[in-house]
């Protein structure tokens, strides 16, 4: 039975050997040689140090294309024209499904035709050499971003390839991304990823790990996201990770977003071991975007404004072309610069909004309820507790496609646009907190002159892409367009 325990060294080696035999490039990994490569990198490419020593929010876009030279060109553009502080490499879908053969076909086709036949950079297929060519070509540190339930080979190759930051986690890359992977299975696989990052860390190469905070990206109540971030942080810490960036996706209400980012940092520091350096990352709005670049720029700017007030360590930006899928590099750089302008204009203003402390207190209380139930479910073991709590529904994520979560909890915005819980299902929460949510939603129902119902949920899901924060009755909500 899997528990929150560090993988022993011999077991680490055994799995590592097994994993690396899964694709030809796996054989090239030599841990000692990889440590030497990391040691040879300049301070400006040490992800954890750059992030942790910054004195204002660093900006990072999303970007990944199949061919190495195209990826270098794309990242150079985002670095030079977008002034990105940190760079990403987004991995393709085949790699996320561990289909390295199909990724190889796609890569070869991309090389022949010059077209982007994959929706990301197949790092496993590029191998250590390809990864290092990328690391060497850029000035800024680069993170691996993906969505892979079993990211063991990807981690082995990208760590050896010089990447020092790796997104994801056993819950955050399971619940929102896949239907049938069990939590026990993904936890076991991510224990290896974290243990491998911990092995580098022991040798002085602090691999930064970043649980994916936005989860399903759709009206996730802050306390649910924060509890899952803390769990993934604890799991990583157990395996020896010492640089952890907890994530949070903008819900669009400035007070709630600032309160949530404050709570995320505070509870992260409190729950994670002292030897871990905890930082935070704020994702600009991950829900549906308006089908209009001008309006999308407004959504992006509200994110920038929030970041200027909350001052997370990192901001992951969106582009004005978000609605239509993968943006052009110009649009991607534009999203960075719009965000930068708003942050730089607003960050020195000392904007202190009323009610943040109160909202933060509520979020913290809710998160503690969830953490308590997780520990209780596992008799003190966070791994068992997480599995059992998801199983019972005491821990849940709204709009979760995964069979591992009930997905029965439903959120709706209150009269100020803060995300509350409309349908609790079996989510564990103190009654007085439930009463607060109920009162806030009832206030909204009064304002709108309608009953609280799933219609509010549906209207809220579409609201920002329709140009508002709150899905008031006049707005028509199309179900099919809700994702």
């Amino acid at each position: 039975m899997i528990r929150d325990e560090r993988i022993p060294s011999d077991e680490l080696r055994r799995i590592d050997d097994e994993i690396r035999s899964g694709w030809s490039t796996g054989g090239d990994v030599d841990f000692e040689e990889a440590i030497r490569y990391h040691e040879s990198l300049p301070a400006s490419k040490r992800f954890a140090d750059v992030l942790e020593s910054a004195d204002k929010p660093l900006l990072q876009p999303r970007a990944g294309v199949p061919r190495l030279d195209d990826q270098i060109e794309l990242l150079e553009y985002l670095q030079d024209d977008g002034k990105a502080d940190l760079l990403p490499t987004t991995i393709d879908s085949y790699t996320r499904d561990n289909e390295y053969g199909k990724a190889q076909e796609g890569l070869e086709k991309a090389r022949e035709t010059g077209e982007d036949t994959l929706n990301g950079f197949p790092a496993v297929n590029h191998g250590i050499e390809g990864c290092r060519e990328l690391i060497d070509a850029l000035d800024a540190p680069i993170e691996v971003r993906h969505g892979t339930p079993d990211a063991r080979l990807l981690a082995a190759i990208t760590f050896a390839g010089g990447f020092q930051s790796f997104e994801g986690g056993p819950i955050s890359y399971n619940i929102p991304y896949t239907k049938r992977h069990g939590l026990e299975e993904t936890i076991e696989k991510w224990q290896f990823v974290d243990r491998l990052a911990g092995a580098y860390t022991e040798r002085g190469v602090r691999i930064n790990r970043e649980p994916f905070g936005p989860l399903t990206g759709t009206l996730v109540p802050p306390s649910i996201a924060i509890a899952i971030m803390i769990v993934e942080g604890q799991l990583a810490a157990t395996q020896g990770v010492r640089s952890i960036t907890l994530g949070y996706g903008q819900v669009g209400n400035v007070v709630q977003d600032v309160a949530a980012l404050n709570a995320l940092q505070k509870l992260g520091d409190e729950y994670l071991p002292d030897e871990v350096c905890v930082t935070t990352v704020f994702h600009e709005w991950m829900g549906g975007f308006p089908p209009d670049e001008a309006r999308a720029n407004g959504v992006i700017s509200l994110g920038g404004m929030t970041a200027a007030i909350a001052q997370p360590d990192k901001v992951i930006t969106k582009s004005p072309q978000e609605f239509q899928g993968v943006p052009t590099k110009e649009a991607n750089a534009a999203g960075l610069r719009t965000t930068r302008q708003v942050i730089d204009m607003a960050i020195e203003q000392n904007i202190d909004i009323d009610g943040i402390a109160e909202e933060q207190d509520l979020i913290e209380r809710e998160t503690r309820c969830l953490m308590d139930t997780i520990f209780a479910h596992g008799d003190g073991d966070v791994v068992r507790g997480t599995i059992e709590a998801f199983d019972s529904g005491a821990l849940d994520v709204p709009f979760a496609p995964s069979d591992s979560a009930k997905g029965a909890v439903l959120p709706a915005r209150d009269d100020d646009g803060r995300v509350r819980i409309f349908e609790w299902a079996d989510l564990e929460m103190d009654d007085d907190i439930k009463e607060i949510h109920k009162a806030r939603l009832s206030q909204r129902a009064d304002t709108e002159g309608r009953e609280e119902s799933f219609r509010m949920v549906a209207d809220d899901v579409d609201a920002i892409s329709d140009g508002k924060l709150i899905g008031r009755p006049q707005g028509k909500g199309g179900v099919g367009s809700a994702d």
Binding site: K179, S453, F454, V457, A458, G480, A482
Partner: protein
Amino acid sequence: MVLDTMSRTVVLGVIGSDAHVVGITILEQALSAAGFDVVNLGVQTSQEEFAEAAVAHSAEAVLVSSLYGHAEQDCQGFHEVLEEADVDAMTYIGGNLAVGQDDFEQTRETFEELGFDRVFDSETDPEEAIAALERDLHVTTSESEQVTVTS
């Protein structure tokens, strides 16, 4: 607003490798609120899973959702699979059914030829699908609800 009628069972799911869950979650809520018994198969549901569930629950309607643009491939042979399993239910499909194809009438025709009884675009309100179901399944409903039908 539970209807004054026998409960009818409908099977609901997202077909293929599509993982878009928000739409069917809301549709599930809407159908339950309207008095239907809903079997929600969730995302990434295969043709066979739809058929099995329809048989197991004696479903009167199978509602297929697709939002990632591969609906046409995912639905090839779907009605043959249903037939083989002896499923005799209305079949609806809705969502972003065709990528980069602006003419919805053409899309509707394509999916009707595949065997679907009704085809909806991504802007369809849950109320609209429910109203169609009520008509197709001859559910007794109140007048006030009938006037909300817009298609």
